[in-house]
Symmetry: C2
Subunit: 261 residues, 2 copies
């Protein structure tokens, strides 16, 4: 490792720990001496190099970690973050021609990208909806909804959690309320039941994950999430499903096509 870091600029009024972070950040962004996966010099090494206290070095490393540039591994070291290959979610992923192939969108897309898709933590309950979900579905909080939660994984690594809400009047007692919804997933079942789908609305936010989300998705510190809420509308204009998903921003690029007309 021939990484060479500059000395501190004692004339500058920039705090020491930020200067150290700057040096490391530049080395990472240049990418020549500190490439993804590489080990960042240890705390002890940096202390000696800069002649500062341990906490000062740790503040610098903390900063880089909060920027999502590095990951610390207890007992091993601090490493330059290597991002997993991202998946592009096309805006035609719910087109009927895909659904008719008999597989859910996630499975198809992941296999096409050469990954091994899996789904776990499937839970199904029947509950009263939150006011937000009730409003989106055109229900009241006194109505009941079928709630399907699950987690999606690629090559064993979790990338997304999803919770679907469907009016119990529609989905109650059907295969949608079973763990295995059969070929084509929820949307195929809805269409079989006569709820021919017309369009989906998607609302996307980006934010830092809650603690449970970071845990469920095994997110490295400093990784934001997409929070996407999709509402499916039948051809009669009625909403038939709300799907609330949280996705690792590391794993996805969302792609949409908009008409100019």
């Amino acid at each position: 490792m021939d990484l060479i870091l500059p000395g501190l600029d004692s004339a500058s009024d920039r705090p020491v720990f930020k200067q150290i972070a700057d040096h490391l950040r530049e080395a990472i962004e240049r990418g020549d001496h500190l490439a993804p996966g590489d080990k960042v010099p240890s705390e002890a090494t940096l202390m000696a190099h800069y002649g500062v206290a341990r906490m000062t070095v740790r503040s610098a490393l903390q900063l880089l970690q909060s920027e999502g540039l590095t990951v610390a591994e207890h007992g091993r070291g601090v490493f330059v973050r290597s991002r997993p290959p991202v998946r592009r979610l096309a805006s035609d992923r719910f087109a009927r021609r895909h659904r008719d192939r008999g597989k859910a969108a996630f499975i198809v897309e992941t296999e096409e990208a050469g990954g091994k898709p899996s789904v776990d933590s499937i839970q199904i309950t029947e509950e009263h909806p939150s006011s937000d979900v009730a409003e989106r579905l055109g229900l009241t909080t006194r109505d009941k909804v079928v709630v399907r939660s699950r987690r999606y994984l690629i090559n064993g690594h979790p990338v997304e959690t999803a919770v679907s809400y469907l009016p119990a009047a529609i989905a109650g007692g059907t295969r949608i309320a079973e763990p295995d919804t059969g070929p084509g997933g929820i949307y195929a079942r809805l269409e079989e039941m006569g709820y021919r789908l017309d369009h989906f609305d998607e609302e996307i936010k980006a934010r830092m994950p809650l603690r449970e989300e970071a845990k469920a998705l095994k997110l490295a510190p400093g990784t934001p999430v997409f929070h996407l809420v999709r509402t499916a509308f039948a051809e009669d204009g009625r909403p038939v499903e709300v799907c609330d998903t949280v996705m690792s921003s590391d794993a996805y690029v969302l792609a949409y096509q908009l008409p100019a007309r």
Copy 2:
């Protein structure tokens, strides 16, 4: 302020600073005693309450800040983050009927939402494109592109930076290369010039901001950004513009409509 925090659980093996952060996080999420804009108890208060060292309290506060829940103001205190009202960006924002009204999408939307839109830092240059931009525009890096950078503000607060790239062969020497593009913006000029627009592709990533981005958008620590790249296609299928925007995730909810057909 009658905020009541529980004591530490010395039996738990959860680190003290995380326990303290948990207590504060819960109080914030409950929202009853610690609402947006409220002042979090000072470091000294928390030290006394929990009987721990200064650095322990600071670690807890640091954690909350990195989660985007609080903002520290030097000399004043730590405050529960109050998020600005978000703007929903509808997927028909570039429909021709809006463009024909003679205002750019950003101006129209912001005024409709009751805000005062403004644009600053307008810079126009002519450059060789990066390989990414060249590829999206169907050019080579030896061609030239007109580069329009600007920053969008709502009520004086920056929310988005945008850089548009257009083939110099199309936009060079036109009003698109002037600071004021005239009514309806770039897209109206392109259509006048005979490049009737067909559709837009948008690719969305979420990530933590670079340092310059955090500065340009005056982002609070722990605020991720949307990185959106839009490519505009003319009716003959040729790409005519690539727009690279970075948006504060605090200020936006992106909304799209997808067909189910």
